[in-house]
Protein backbone atom coordinates (compact mmCIF):
# COMPACT_ATOMS: atom_id res chain seq x y z
CA UNK A 1 0.00 0.00 0.00
CA UNK A 2 1.34 3.41 -1.00
CA UNK A 3 1.96 5.84 1.87
CA UNK A 4 2.82 9.54 2.02
CA UNK A 5 3.86 11.43 5.14
CA UNK A 6 4.32 15.19 5.13
CA UNK A 7 6.09 17.32 7.69
CA UNK A 8 5.69 19.64 9.37
CA UNK A 9 1.90 19.68 9.66
CA UNK A 10 1.98 23.45 9.96
CA UNK A 11 4.66 26.10 9.43
CA UNK A 12 4.61 29.80 10.14
CA UNK A 13 7.31 31.94 8.52
CA UNK A 14 8.10 35.60 8.25
CA UNK A 15 8.01 37.12 4.79
CA UNK A 16 11.39 36.49 3.16
CA UNK A 17 12.29 33.60 5.49
CA UNK A 18 13.17 30.59 3.33
CA UNK A 19 12.33 27.03 4.38
CA UNK A 20 11.58 23.52 3.13
CA UNK A 21 8.62 21.17 3.34
CA UNK A 22 9.21 17.43 3.48
CA UNK A 23 7.35 14.56 1.84
CA UNK A 24 8.38 11.01 2.69
CA UNK A 25 6.87 8.19 0.67
CA UNK A 26 6.72 4.44 0.25
CA UNK A 27 5.43 3.09 -3.03
CA UNK A 28 5.69 -0.22 -4.87
CA UNK A 29 6.90 1.45 -8.04
CA UNK A 30 6.98 5.22 -8.42
CA UNK A 31 5.39 6.54 -11.55
CA UNK A 32 5.36 10.16 -10.42
CA UNK A 33 5.45 12.41 -7.36
CA UNK A 34 3.16 15.41 -7.43
CA UNK A 35 3.04 18.68 -5.51
CA UNK A 36 -0.19 20.65 -5.30
CA UNK A 37 -1.18 23.89 -3.65
CA UNK A 38 -4.63 24.17 -2.06
CA UNK A 39 -6.24 27.43 -0.97
CA UNK A 40 -9.24 27.44 1.41
CA UNK A 41 -12.47 26.50 -0.33
CA UNK A 42 -10.73 25.51 -3.56
CA UNK A 43 -9.51 22.35 -5.20
CA UNK A 44 -5.82 21.45 -5.37
CA UNK A 45 -3.82 23.39 -7.95
CA UNK A 46 -1.04 21.54 -9.76
CA UNK A 47 2.53 22.71 -9.14
CA UNK A 48 5.04 20.00 -10.17
CA UNK A 49 5.48 16.39 -11.19
CA UNK A 50 8.80 14.64 -10.53
CA UNK A 51 9.53 11.26 -12.07
CA UNK A 52 12.98 10.07 -10.98
CA UNK A 53 15.50 10.54 -8.18
CA UNK A 54 17.69 13.56 -8.72
CA UNK A 55 15.11 15.48 -10.69
CA UNK A 56 14.45 19.11 -9.78
CA UNK A 57 11.81 21.57 -10.97
CA UNK A 58 11.34 25.27 -10.27
CA UNK A 59 8.51 27.74 -10.48
CA UNK A 60 8.93 31.28 -9.22
CA UNK A 61 9.87 30.98 -5.52
CA UNK A 62 9.27 27.21 -5.38
CA UNK A 63 11.71 24.40 -6.11
CA UNK A 64 10.89 20.70 -5.82
CA UNK A 65 13.48 17.94 -5.50
CA UNK A 66 13.19 14.16 -5.39
CA UNK A 67 15.19 11.31 -3.87
CA UNK A 68 14.32 7.62 -3.69
CA UNK A 69 12.56 8.07 -0.35
CA UNK A 70 11.47 11.68 -0.10
CA UNK A 71 10.78 14.95 -1.82
CA UNK A 72 11.36 18.50 -0.66
CA UNK A 73 9.54 21.66 -1.60
CA UNK A 74 11.88 24.58 -1.05
CA UNK A 75 10.36 28.02 -0.69
CA UNK A 76 12.76 30.91 -1.22
CA UNK A 77 11.97 34.37 0.12
CA UNK A 78 8.25 33.63 0.48
CA UNK A 79 5.53 36.25 0.25
CA UNK A 80 2.16 36.32 2.06
CA UNK A 81 0.44 35.12 -1.12
CA UNK A 82 2.37 31.86 -0.80
CA UNK A 83 0.25 31.03 2.24
CA UNK A 84 -1.69 27.82 1.49
CA UNK A 85 -1.76 24.10 2.20
CA UNK A 86 0.83 22.20 0.15
CA UNK A 87 -0.07 18.64 -0.72
CA UNK A 88 2.27 15.88 -1.84
CA UNK A 89 0.99 12.82 -3.70
CA UNK A 90 2.42 9.71 -5.34
CA UNK A 91 1.29 7.77 -8.33
CA UNK A 92 2.42 4.16 -8.63
CA UNK A 93 2.68 1.70 -11.49
CA UNK A 94 -0.56 -0.25 -11.25
CA UNK A 95 -2.18 -2.75 -13.55
CA UNK A 96 -5.30 -2.10 -15.53
CA UNK A 97 -4.74 1.59 -16.06
CA UNK A 98 -5.48 2.60 -12.46
CA UNK A 99 -3.44 5.72 -11.74
CA UNK A 100 -5.10 7.50 -8.84
CA UNK A 101 -2.97 9.59 -6.51
CA UNK A 102 -2.24 8.81 -2.86
CA UNK A 103 -2.00 12.08 -0.96
CA UNK A 104 -0.37 13.10 2.28
CA UNK A 105 -2.21 15.23 4.83
CA UNK A 106 -0.48 18.38 3.67
CA UNK A 107 1.56 21.17 5.25
CA UNK A 108 -0.34 24.30 6.20
CA UNK A 109 1.99 27.21 5.44
CA UNK A 110 1.43 30.72 6.76
CA UNK A 111 3.65 33.60 5.64
CA UNK A 112 3.41 36.64 7.89
CA UNK A 113 4.12 40.14 6.49
Amino acid sequence: EDQVTQSPEALRLQEGESSSLNCSYTVSGLRGLFWYRQDPGKGPEFLFTLYSAGEEKEKERLKATLTKKESFLHITAPKPEDSATYLCAVQSHSGGGADGLTFGKGTHLIIQP
Binding site: G43, L87, A98, D99
Partner: protein, 112 residues
Protein backbone atom coordinates in the same frame (compact mmCIF):
# COMPACT_ATOMS: atom_id res chain seq x y z
CA UNK B 1 -9.84 26.56 -21.31
CA UNK B 2 -12.78 26.10 -18.97
CA UNK B 3 -12.01 24.25 -15.77
CA UNK B 4 -13.70 21.29 -14.11
CA UNK B 5 -17.22 22.31 -13.09
CA UNK B 6 -18.90 20.88 -10.00
CA UNK B 7 -22.28 21.46 -8.41
CA UNK B 8 -23.64 22.13 -5.95
CA UNK B 9 -20.92 24.00 -4.04
CA UNK B 10 -22.49 23.24 -0.68
CA UNK B 11 -25.02 20.72 0.57
CA UNK B 12 -26.42 20.06 4.03
CA UNK B 13 -28.49 16.92 4.60
CA UNK B 14 -29.67 14.81 7.49
CA UNK B 15 -28.20 11.38 8.08
CA UNK B 16 -29.91 8.57 6.17
CA UNK B 17 -30.92 10.98 3.39
CA UNK B 18 -29.55 10.66 -0.12
CA UNK B 19 -27.47 13.20 -2.06
CA UNK B 20 -25.96 13.52 -5.53
CA UNK B 21 -23.06 15.53 -6.86
CA UNK B 22 -22.41 16.47 -10.46
CA UNK B 23 -19.16 16.97 -12.36
CA UNK B 24 -18.46 18.29 -15.85
CA UNK B 25 -14.81 17.66 -16.79
CA UNK B 26 -12.63 19.65 -19.15
CA UNK B 27 -13.70 19.00 -22.72
CA UNK B 28 -11.81 16.12 -24.27
CA UNK B 29 -10.47 14.72 -21.01
CA UNK B 30 -10.92 10.96 -21.11
CA UNK B 31 -10.14 10.24 -17.47
CA UNK B 32 -12.31 11.40 -14.58
CA UNK B 33 -11.75 10.91 -10.86
CA UNK B 34 -13.79 11.44 -7.70
CA UNK B 35 -11.91 12.13 -4.47
CA UNK B 36 -13.14 12.56 -0.89
CA UNK B 37 -11.32 15.09 1.30
CA UNK B 38 -12.16 15.02 5.00
CA UNK B 39 -11.24 18.16 6.95
CA UNK B 40 -7.52 18.18 7.77
CA UNK B 41 -6.75 15.25 5.46
CA UNK B 42 -5.45 14.88 1.94
CA UNK B 43 -7.84 13.81 -0.83
CA UNK B 44 -8.63 10.09 -1.04
CA UNK B 45 -9.48 8.46 -4.37
CA UNK B 46 -13.00 7.00 -4.56
CA UNK B 47 -13.33 6.05 -8.22
CA UNK B 48 -11.59 6.48 -11.58
CA UNK B 49 -13.33 6.41 -14.97
CA UNK B 50 -11.69 6.04 -18.36
CA UNK B 51 -14.26 7.34 -20.85
CA UNK B 52 -17.44 5.76 -19.42
CA UNK B 53 -15.83 2.64 -17.97
CA UNK B 54 -14.71 2.14 -14.36
CA UNK B 55 -10.95 1.62 -14.00
CA UNK B 56 -10.62 1.63 -10.21
CA UNK B 57 -13.33 1.66 -7.54
CA UNK B 58 -11.46 -0.30 -4.90
CA UNK B 59 -11.88 2.44 -2.25
CA UNK B 60 -15.51 3.25 -3.01
CA UNK B 61 -17.90 2.17 -0.18
CA UNK B 62 -20.20 0.38 -2.55
CA UNK B 63 -22.89 -0.30 0.03
CA UNK B 64 -23.81 3.39 0.02
CA UNK B 65 -21.82 5.14 -2.74
CA UNK B 66 -22.41 4.85 -6.46
CA UNK B 67 -21.08 6.73 -9.46
CA UNK B 68 -21.69 6.82 -13.17
CA UNK B 69 -20.29 8.60 -16.19
CA UNK B 70 -22.74 8.74 -19.02
CA UNK B 71 -21.43 9.01 -22.59
CA UNK B 72 -17.91 9.50 -21.26
CA UNK B 73 -18.51 13.13 -20.31
CA UNK B 74 -20.44 14.27 -17.19
CA UNK B 75 -20.41 12.21 -14.02
CA UNK B 76 -22.56 11.93 -10.91
CA UNK B 77 -21.62 10.61 -7.49
CA UNK B 78 -24.43 9.50 -5.19
CA UNK B 79 -24.56 8.65 -1.50
CA UNK B 80 -27.54 6.72 -0.16
CA UNK B 81 -28.04 6.65 2.78
CA UNK B 82 -25.61 9.25 4.11
CA UNK B 83 -23.78 8.87 7.42
CA UNK B 84 -22.25 11.52 9.64
CA UNK B 85 -18.75 10.38 8.63
CA UNK B 86 -19.51 11.21 4.98
CA UNK B 87 -19.16 14.92 5.81
CA UNK B 88 -16.32 16.03 3.54
CA UNK B 89 -15.45 17.88 0.36
CA UNK B 90 -16.02 15.80 -2.76
CA UNK B 91 -13.56 16.72 -5.48
CA UNK B 92 -13.80 15.86 -9.14
CA UNK B 93 -10.69 15.87 -11.34
CA UNK B 94 -10.07 15.17 -15.00
CA UNK B 95 -7.05 14.33 -17.12
CA UNK B 96 -6.50 14.08 -20.88
CA UNK B 97 -4.72 10.73 -20.65
CA UNK B 98 -3.58 9.76 -17.16
CA UNK B 99 -1.40 12.83 -16.69
CA UNK B 100 -1.89 16.37 -15.51
CA UNK B 101 -4.90 16.28 -13.25
CA UNK B 102 -7.09 19.36 -13.01
CA UNK B 103 -9.34 19.54 -9.96
CA UNK B 104 -12.65 21.27 -9.57
CA UNK B 105 -13.48 23.41 -6.54
CA UNK B 106 -15.45 20.60 -4.94
CA UNK B 107 -18.79 20.12 -3.19
CA UNK B 108 -18.76 20.56 0.58
CA UNK B 109 -21.17 18.07 2.16
CA UNK B 110 -22.32 18.38 5.75
CA UNK B 111 -24.34 15.51 7.21
CA UNK B 112 -26.23 16.40 10.40
Amino acid sequence: EAGVAQSPRYKIIEKRQSVAFWCNPISGHATLYWYQQILGQGPKLLIQFQNNGVVDDSQLPKDRFSAERLKGVDSTLKIQPAKLEDSAVYLCASSPRNYGYTFGSGTRLTVV
